[in-house]
């Protein structure tokens, strides 16, 4: 079904240019024109969250079975602290991306949109980062935000790289 990917490729650029509601999606497209199965996306952290002002990179892998199977989407490793994202691998816990709950009516741009919404709406009841989830469940938002900030600024690895 790679013709559907080609179609999405054509439409994504148009949508991103014309539709202001996607202005937080800085880019979304295949890594190279020869191979439509690997895509990259860059999104801005949502305003009024501790991710605001930061850019994040998503790595998207699409199988031959797409759109019957969901795309595999991760954040770049070691790039984002979030209770539903595994910091080391960038793996994302989002029901939409699981085969069980996937529908071919979704497309890559909407997956990216759903992930962006997840940043502003963490779901501490199904965590991949237990520490951040515990802070949210304890409603200790200032500690949560401070810990996120600490990681975003390089954490123990040093100062913010960009």
């Amino acid at each position: 079904m790679s013709s559907r990917l080609a179609k999405e490729y054509k439409n994504v650029a148009k949508t991103l240019r014309a539709d202001q509601s996607f202005s937080h999606v800085l880019s979304l497209g295949p890594c190279s024109d020869d191979n439509l199965t690997h895509w990259d996306a860059q999104i801005m952290g949502p305003a009024d969250t501790c991710y605001s002002g930061y850019k994040f990179t998503l790595r998207i892998q699409v199988t031959d079975r797409y759109p019957l199977e969901p795309p595999k989407i991760r954040f770049a490793p070691f790039s984002i602290p979030h209770c539903n994202i595994d910091f080391d691998s960038g793996r994302i816990c989002l029901t939409l991306l699981e085969q069980e709950h996937w529908s071919p009516a979704w497309d890559l741009l909407h997956c990216v949109q759903a992930i962006w919404l997840l940043l502003a709406n963490p779901e501490p009841d199904s965590p991949l980062d237990v520490d951040l989830a515990c802070l949210l469940r304890a409603k200790d938002y200032s500690a949560h935000d401070a810990l996120v900030c600490y990681y975003l600024n390089g954490g123990s690895h040093g100062s913010r790289s960009n």
Binding site: M1, R4, E8, L68, Q99, W102, S103, P104, A105
Partner: protein, 134 residues
């Protein structure tokens, strides 16, 4: 005056007869697309070469339309659970629609396999002998 035709180039156009579609407002000449492969209803699914009878369209009871090959592939996946990809209601074919009639048997089989426990009246009807090819 005598006119003589030397050559005639007939041009035909066709489109699927989708009931209720005439009221749909088309913006910027956009055609309606199959929700699975995102190709026009009047085009083919990705596995077909020629549109039309080789790659027919089906109309769901929920008014969502797909190339029959696309929806069949989807319903064949275990996770589809017999649901429409657009609205997640149990997918069944709209009755008394001309273009659905030839596809009844084909989809009845898939639907029976995918949702044996949750048959409603629509699927009961589709399990009647004339709809099932075993």
């Amino acid at each position: 005056m005598l006119l003589e035709f030397e050559k005639v180039y007939p041009v035909f156009s066709w489109s699927w007869d989708i009931p209720g579609d005439e009221n749909a407002v088309k913006e910027n000449g956009d055609e309606d697309l199959c929700g699975i492969c995102r190709v026009s209803y009047n085009g083919t699914c990705p596995s077909c070469k020629y549109p039309g009878d080789d790659c027919p369209l089906v109309i769901g009871e929920c008014n969502h339309n797909f190339h029959v090959h696309c929806i069949q592939q989807w319903l064949d996946t275990p996770t589809a659970k017999g649901l429409c990809p657009m609205c997640r209601q149990p997918f069944s074919l709209k009755r008394n629609v001309a273009i659905n009639e030839f596809q009844m048997g084909r989809l009845a089989k898939v639907l029976i396999n995918s949702q044996p426990a949750t048959l409603n009246d629509d699927q009961d009807m589709m399990m009647e002998p004339e709809f099932v090819v075993r």
